[in-house]
Amino acid sequence: MGIHKTFRLYFLSRYSFTIKASIKLNIWVSLSFNAGGVVVSESKNIDEKKNMLPITYKKISRRQALGTAGKVAIGAIVAGVVGAVGGYLVGSATVPPAKTVTETKTVTAAAATVTQTVTVTKTVTASPTPTPTITPPTKIKLVMTQHPVDPNEMYAKMAKKYSTEVKPYVEVEIAWGPTGGGAVAEYYRIQVEAGRARSPTLDIFNLDVIWGAAFNDNDWCLDLSDRFPPEEQAKFIPAMIESWTWIDKKGHKRIGAVPWMADIGGMWYRKDIVEEQEGIKPPADGWTWEEFFSICVELKEKYPDMYPLAIDNAKSEQLICNFQEFLASNGGEWFDEEWNVLIADTPAVEALQAMYDMVHKYKICHPETLTGDLEIARKHFTEGRAIFHRNWCYVWGVALGSPVEGKIWETLIPHFPGYESKSCVGGWSWAINPGCRYIDEAWELIKWFTSYDIMKELMLGGSWLHARIDLYKDPDIVKMIPIAPAYYELYKRGTIRPKHPEYMTISDFAQTEMHAALSNMKSVEQALNDLARKLADFLGTKVVKR
């Protein structure tokens, strides 16, 4: 029984008198003040009847009046219902026109100050009758959603390049969809329905990896397995491919999207402190967690004004990413093949216990680890107050122009003995609307965008990191981004979060329970047992301990 529960009972028992008293006070206050108000301000009281206007009646019989009133009322209600239902049905055939937003960003050299100009133009909704075959002179338009941030406006440039140089009859427009939370699934489902109704306004979706299962299972993205063979798939980051691979209800294996922007977690560290001053060299396959924690404890004593580890364990999706790394590096799984729940099993308990020890037993984390957010942790690192830092790839870019520029490097996430180091994979991929009218053209566009040369050009132009593994061994890329080989090592060891269509709910359950365990509200076993039971109830499966 956690402290929180005890406090609740204590609070209730101790303060039940206060609670009851407040309820009584509330009612008493209202009653007495009402009485007092009536008594004292009677002179101000407005006599209801006297204040009303005289009634002027027309002489009609009561039955007539009731009849007319009833008919009018029924008519109004029926009209209202019909109007509402009709409006809804009619309205669902029309789809909000896609808004075009071209976002341009200019990154000034040293500081990370960004100015953004947004131009919003309305797209012209295409004609509802589709032309099945495209002969080059006919102009078509493809609309693709994009991540809302476009560094150095590289994507806009590339889209224009496609229209002008590669295929002049295709106009590419970039739209802006919801990126997270909110009603992402509902938004894209409506686009898919519009596609099925032959008037889509969005052809290509740009989606986070966590949507892989949901979109594949509900057939909200086109099956690309005939266009995207396994040999080609192998050239992309394996974990991203895995999150978009799915076995659908007919038992057929399908791939729903092509990986586009890549992001992966790693252990950043201060090279100058760890390697040069202390002489500790990170091993080629990463430390074990025990070794890592003991190093941190040592460094904590030697550098008392620095935090050994800046890692964000606040209640958010980041927590699940952290946990995924601990779990996978212990050989653990969330679910088995039939979606029975394994989260209460030993590997997971050990993983969460290690996280708990990290925060409470060894006390090596920064103080805001449970209540702050990722940027607080990142600020500790890039302003020189932390030695180790678990974060995504963007830290390199942010560190340019900060006090730690040139002093940081990235290594593998630690692992449990006997298992491999694993890094949680994020990133975004292109999927095609199944109702898209120009599927071949859309595929050509995606293929062009995700080709090696175009991705390389984008990266050299200062855009995000992209999903082809070989890019990170390319000499030009390595020259511009010296840390690329470290990324390569991490990409080889990617792991993904649970691939289930209802991942949003699973994640929310897990965040709540795990954060409760890390905040000392429950024991680790209790939290994972509760979580396992919740998940099993939700999914309709059982809790299994192997």
């Binding site: 409006g87 309205g91 937003v101 919003v120 909110g182 009603a183």
Partner: protein, 273 residues
Amino acid sequence: MRISLYNILLLIAVVLIVIFYFGPVFWTILISLKPEEEVYSIGLPSKFMFDRYYKVLLSDRFIPTFLNSFKITFAATPFIVLLASPAAYAIARFREFKGRTGVFILFLVLMLLPHVAIAGYIYSMLTGLGLYDTIPGVVLTYTGLFTPFAIWTLSSYFRGVPKEIEEAALVDGASRLSILTRVILPISLPGIAVTTILCFILIWSEFLVAFTITLTYNARPVTIGTLLFVGLYELQWSEVATAAIIATIPVLAIAFLASKYIIRGLTTAVIRG
């Protein structure tokens, strides 16, 4: 000034009140003037970045939301008053309106519904109608959400109009509708002004429903606009604080200028019921 216990207590109370209520506001202003790295530190800013206000005002991320807020609020508020006035009059003055109490309670209850409970279905409804992420959709939603509040406020004002004037008009052969437009509305203009101001403030600071039913700069109001200051990777909280201060200024201005009327308005609303 006598040094009495009363004065000392008053002074302590005033100081505490100022610290408590204005403290976080003051801190927001402070954050908006700090360099981004110092947002979380507790000292005074090392340099005062007043130019950030210019930057935010001129940034293309903020102005569209500001304009949207103006459009939405100035469109919704007249609608609300227009729809609420007849209903409030009917509740206030029609003695023969047998269902008066029931309707009043109905509107009172509707006013108290938590927005979060119905925002979800409103999203589906607007999407089905094609009004998602459009200003008309937002205006329609806000009209529906705040009309009961306006009815409640207005009905109290209408009951304050001396009934002799209305009786005289009735005797002269005016219809109820023309009584409303030619007699009641002009007399209770202060009350209508107060209702308008209150609705303005409520709509301007509304966040949750706006977040659910809008997506892009087409219709996003300024409360959400404050959160759109994403740097390359993270939210720039100093710019968010600046935007928040700027977004609050219209509300503050109206509240300050009209505070006399607002207080009088809320008073009358209660006195009569």
